[in-house]
């Protein structure tokens, strides 16, 4: 690509020739250690990091090139990279168009030919969905996201509908991450037809200061939603549910219990993942140092796990939950009992895992 690519050599690279090629991928690093893209072989527990000149956020596996992972720049980002975990290098990168910025997440169409990214208009503040060719990463177009602050998104099982977490919070590149509209914010779960770009439907939660920020989807179209409460714009301290489930043709259902656990999550969920096999969704709260687990069909609370600064969460090929934190730690929890396999705990200190983690098999 004609640009310096540094592979951090302070750790052994994942042995990607192994038969067990399951790899955890995530944005990694901080100001002190430098930002980058981290990936760790689950079998070998060895870690590598490709340095980048920006802080990443969400990651997506390329459906047509499974060894390639896209890492999107964190809000308000202007860059994304394509890393190849078999080649241990960054193989491509792309920028936002003029007057656009990334919110940090993206997803592929079912056929893998198109990439959708959540973006903002830096002039008007409107939310946009960027559309790119998945080979050249040339922008093909865009459509309105249906609100301010589109953050996470994914494609529905029908292959033609996007579900977008519209956070509702206005930020602008010139004011960084400052929240500019808390009193008027409108957060929605919005469904968009990818063929026409038209909004099909939108759903809200009762608390207007709940910002719907992250989501994951099951193969039957059940969406698990993770929210963040803008408490400074509220006048009470009542605990507000932070997780919710949305099923097709139904209203959003909040995960209202247990209240003490919700309170301990400190108004903030960082990530969510659905375990298809066990129908359990895990929601991480780095501000509460807790992962909470709920059944996505019965909405019953099924357990929790405490871990300092936990945020990244993924489901591996054994249907276990993998969770990470900024102290470089990865833990594996049974997908049903939620008990930790303590002997598999991995710590790579000075390698802070950032907000989101994905388990891929290559």
């Amino acid at each position: 690509m004609g640009m310096p690519i540094e592979v951090i050599a302070n750790m052994a690279l994942p042995d990607t020739r192994s038969a067990e090629r399951e790899i955890l991928v995530s944005a990694m690093g901080d100001k002190k250690t430098g930002y980058g893209f981290g990936f760790m072989s689950v079998a070998q527990q060895a870690l590598a990091k490709l340095t980048t000149d920006f802080r990443g956020h969400g990651v997506s596996q390329h459906p047509l090139n499974p060894s390639q992972v896209i890492m999107y720049g964190r809000r308000p980002g202007n860059m994304a990279i394509v890393a190849d975990v078999l080649q241990n290098k960054i193989v491509n990168r792309f920028r936002v168009a003029k007057n656009r910025f990334f919110y940090g997440h993206g997803c592929f169409s079912h056929d893998g030919k198109t990439l959708f990214t959540t973006e903002g208009d830096s002039i008007t503040g409107e939310g946009k969905i960027g559309i790119r060719d998945s080979v050249t990463y040339q922008q093909l177009g865009e459509f309105d996201a249906g609100g301010i602050g589109p953050h996470d998104l994914t494609i529905m099982p029908d292959g033609k509908t996007l579900v977008v977490a519209i956070g509702g919070i206005l930020t602008r590149p010139e004011t960084g991450r400052k929240k500019l509209n808390l009193h008027e914010m409108v957060s929605t779960l919005t469904y968009i037809d990818t063929f026409t770009g038209k909004k099909i439907d939108e759903f809200r939660v009762p608390e207007s200061k709940s910002s719907i920020r992250h989501l994951d989807i099951a193969s039957d179209g059940t969406v698990a939603i993770a929210m963040q409460i803008q408490r400074s714009a509220m006048t009470h301290d009542n605990p507000i549910p932070l997780g919710a489930i949305h099923k097709p043709n139904e209203d959003i259902k909040l995960l209202t219990e247990p209240v003490p656990l919700i309170r301990a999550m400190n108004d903030y969920l960082g990530s969510v993942v659905i375990n298809e096999q066990t129908r359990i969704a895990g929601f991480t709260s780095p501000r509460g140092n807790i992962v909470g687990f709920w059944n996505i069909d019965t909405l019953e609370f099924v357990g929790y796990h405490q871990m300092h600064d936990v945020c990244g969460i993924a489901v591996n090929s054994k249907h276990h939950f993998m969770i990470s934190n900024s102290l470089g730690e990865v833990r594996e929890l049974d997908g049903t009992t939620l008990k930790e396999y303590k002997q598999r705990r991995v710590v790579h200190k000075h390698s802070p895992w950032d907000n989101h983690m994905l388990a891929i098999t290559v």
Binding site: R74, D237, P260, C311, S326, E329
Partner: protein, 352 residues
């Protein structure tokens, strides 16, 4: 073999966060063996004495409540109200230590059991509970009640107003107690509960922490807490979270609605944080090691924000107080954490 070798290599290069004795400080960071001295002083000179003084206040309140229920005089009620104020002010010196015995049960942490539930309708719960049990003389399991029906707010409702009509005069409150036998049952029950919670916290820090064989003070000073987190990181991040909490919730206008001591409580918070950072004369403190590391500007900045918070409280300027508290929260999140060479957590401090 290869697997072992790879893992060994990665271990070889592992830098250290929590194991203080092996870390060489970077320029502008406090020297870590000194942090261990500061932590010891913090525990023995600040945390344990304040937890003990809260326990003593709880015992005093319970004893005085029993005396009041025996005599039911205005004088004794006034004394009881003062005991309550002392208890509340002392609670606010330790409330920010939301780890260990204050928060060792995710579903019923002691902190929530004692603390004010802050929301617009919070008075309605203890008021309804009292009104419903005016004639009760037995049968209530006080410890199993929800946090909004016990703790400091419940005691306020029992001590500073009459049931149902909510009159505030001493004379009427005493009459209310004479008229309704259940009120003394409730007062004794809730006083005993808060004493029991205070004893639990004191025992946990001093004698034995949960299933462990050690007191929490030893666990804390070992540097690593039971969940694997670093004790200093936990201390700084919990205080930071607490400061953000009181700023976001506008706590001043929402707490102590009947006793009228919300400013005293707030002063207690700020004084406690100041004392925690300044330490005791002649001993190494957080401020002294940060200054010694060449970061006097950080110490000056934090002192200025503490002073601003106190000034705002002295003139009852809530917005200036919230602003100062917000700046203090930022000091804990960045300036103090960096000066102490600790990582509060990327996701905690700067998520999205």
């Amino acid at each position: 073999m290869k697997k072992i070798l790879l893992f060994s290599l990665s271990l070889f290069f592992l830098p250290v966060y929590g194991e203080h004795s092996t870390v060489v400080p970077e320029k502008g960071q406090a020297y870590l063996p000194d942090i261990n001295k500061v932590q010891a002083s913090l525990v023995y000179d600040h945390i344990l004495p304040n937890i003990r003084s809260f326990l003593i206040a709880a015992k005093d309140l319970k004893a005085t409540a029993n005396e009041f229920c025996h005599t039911k005089t205005e004088k004794k009620l006034a004394e009881l109200q003062e005991k309550f104020k002392t208890l509340s002010v002392r609670w606010h010196r330790i409330e920010m230590l939301n780890f260990g015995p204050l928060n060792d049960d995710i579903f019923l942490p002691k902190r929530d059991a004692i603390n004010y539930p802050i929301n617009n309708t919070s008075l309605s719960y203890p008021r309804s509970f009292v009104a419903k049990h005016l004639n009760a003389t037995s049968g209530i399991d006080f410890s199993s009640l929800s946090p909004r029906e016990k703790g400091l707010l419940m005691l306020e409702v029992l001590l500073f107003e009459t049931a149902v009509s909510n009159d505030k005069q001493l004379e009427k409150i005493v009459e209310d107690y004479k008229k309704n036998l259940g009120k003394c049952y409730l007062l004794k029950g809730f006083s005993e509960l808060i004493e029991s919670d205070a004893q639990y916290i004191d025992d946990g820090w001093n004698i034995k922490y949960r299933q462990s064989t050690k007191p929490f003070k030893d666990i804390y000073l070992s540097g690593t807490l039971p969940d694997g987190s670093d004790s200093l990181v936990t201390l700084i991040s919990e205080i930071q979270k607490y400061l953000e909490y009181i700023k976001k919730r506008n706590v001043i206008s929402m707490t102590a609605p009947l006793s009228g001591i919300s400013y005293d409580n707030a002063f207690s918070v700020i004084n406690s944080i100041e004392s925690l950072l300044e330490g005791v004369p002649g001993k190494t403190s957080f401020f002294s090691i940060i200054e010694a590391a060449g970061k006097k500007s950080v110490v000056d900045l934090v002192r200025e924000n503490i002073s601003d918070a106190k000034q705002a409280l002295s003139v009852k300027d809530n917005s200036a107080y919230n602003a100062a508290v917000g700046r203090l929260a930022a000091n804990f999140k960045r300036d103090l954490a960096e000066s102490l060479g600790i990582n509060l957590g990327l996701n905690f401090a700067d998520g999205d």
